[in-house]
């Protein structure tokens, strides 16, 4: 059996101390091996020494839509994850064999904190056809990536998208009295789980994909959690945040719903979009995601187009930063941020201005998605 170790152990000072040398190594590796990345670093004048995580140069996440960013020779590319944006160019993320093998392991290691190491019976708030489609959608890729963590996979919706009460009833008769896993995209969970009228009290819900569609109905995280507890008995609920450009890294909501936490190999830096300085806790800004997993492409420090806020540091159930994602940066503001890079790198064309990914693109380990 594998050794069960938590990836939620490092307090912020220890995390900084562990991450900085590793990130410096990755920055230099990618600088040497990835020509477009080197040009960007040269243009912005990024050079060692980096003393803090916040000192590292970041790439806007959209660069994966416009540039082929890989740090391994073409013949060592094992998988290319392609986002399925509804408009604009998709992101392309190049994984060699090592990076491809690491990402499901680290995803599993992160979720082990709330699921344990056993594959639990799994209820999926989606339809089976979402994983069968040969041109796998981001949603399908997300579901497929999570299915590694489950067994006796049972889909809540039939092929026509209607609630399959028979399948759900059968699942709960088999497994309803023991720990089980429920996974779905946030809006799918909201749409389809509430009406089941089922006792899901032994379940642990993992959900992701963003709040935009629910925000339109004025449903936030607190109401989401309260309603599912009241109507289904669901008290173990964990949202997560992640993106295909940093596949395998997810930021996982703590048991009390008090924010997203960073696994030991990752962190976030929230930046003031005017000054680019790190914003103090309580002050919203742009979310930069940092992870040591991207070894085959320069995705270790990425500036997203999401607004977020750090609530606290080393003050929650798990150590490190505790934060929330507040939504997309409005288009006009984000354009300013891509301009920084358009200027820094003359060849960088940033089509579509600051168009953000559609909410449906946000998947497990993936805003944008890609077969996992």
């Amino acid at each position: 059996m594998s050794v069960v170790t938590s990836v939620f152990t490092l307090a912020e000072p220890d995390r900084e101390a562990a991450l900085v040398p590793r990130l410096a190594e990755l920055t230099e590796r990618h600088r040497r091996a990835c020509e477009p990345y080197r040009r960007i670093l040269d243009a912005i004048g990024a050079a060692p020494a980096y003393e803090r995580v916040a000192d590292f140069p970041w790439l806007p996440v959209r660069m994966f839509k416009t540039h082929e960013l890989r740090s391994v020779p073409a013949d060592q590319v094992f998988r290319v994850l392609v986002s399925s944006g509804t408009t604009g160019a998709p992101s392309r993320v190049h994984l060699d064999r090592e990076a491809a093998a690491a990402q499901p392991r680290m995803l599993a290691a992160t979720l082990r904190a709330v699921l344990g190491g056993r594959r639990l019976p799994m209820l999926i708030a989606d339809t089976r056809s979402v994983v069968r489609d040969p041109t796998l959608s981001a949603r399908g890729a997300g579901v497929l990536g999570m299915m590694n963590l489950g067994r006796d996979h049972t889909f809540v919706l039939d092929e026509q998208g209607r609630v399959d009460t028979e399948a759900v009833g059968g699942f709960l008769r088999r497994h309803g009295g023991e720990p089980f896993l429920i996974f779905g995209f946030t809006f799918m969970v909201w749409l389809h789980l509430r009406g089941l009228g089922a006792d899901l009290s032994q379940g642990t819900l993992i959900h992701s994909g963003g709040w935009k569609r629910l925000a339109e109905q004025a449903v936030g995280n607190a109401e989401f959690r309260r309603t599912l507890a009241e109507e289904c008995g669901l008290t173990r609920i964990h949202n997560f945040y992640g993106m295909v450009e940093q596949i395998g890294t997810i930021f996982l909501e703590g048991p009390d719903g008090d924010g997203l936490y960073c696994p030991d190999f990752a962190t976030v830096v929230v930046r003031d979009p005017e000054t680019w300085e790190e914003a103090p806790p309580g002050t919203p800004g742009l979310v930069e995601v940092v992870s040591t997993l991207p070894t085959s492409y320069p995705g270790h420090v990425l500036l997203t187009e999401d607004l977020g806020v750090v609530h606290g540091v080393d003050d929650g159930v798990w150590p490190g930063k505790r934060f929330s994602v507040l939504g997309r940066l409005p288009r006009a503001e984000a354009r300013g941020c891509s301009d920084v890079y358009a200027q820094a790198e003359p060849g960088a064309v940033v089509p579509g201005g600051a168009r953000a990914a559609e909410p449906g693109e946000a998947v497990v380990g993936g805003r944008g998605g890609g077969r996992v």
């Binding site: 059996m1 594998s2 093998a101 190491g117």
Partner: protein
Amino acid sequence: MSHLDRLRAVFRSALNLPPGADVDGLEYRAIPQWDSLAHMSLVAAMEDEFSIMIDTDEMIDMSSFAKATELLEKHGIDAAV
């Protein structure tokens, strides 16, 4: 039938390969039939065939037929017998 032959049969059936197909050298994703969805069917079929429980990390690490035989041995099933 030896455990090894039973494992071969499970592979052929779960991956939709013809009856006589040589599976001993197979690696995950090296053939189109062994994709991530088939991987889950394969693991479930191995669990049923050998009455074992395969955990998440073991499933992720089972990247070849050879690894699958090692996994069986770890669960006390000697593939050669």
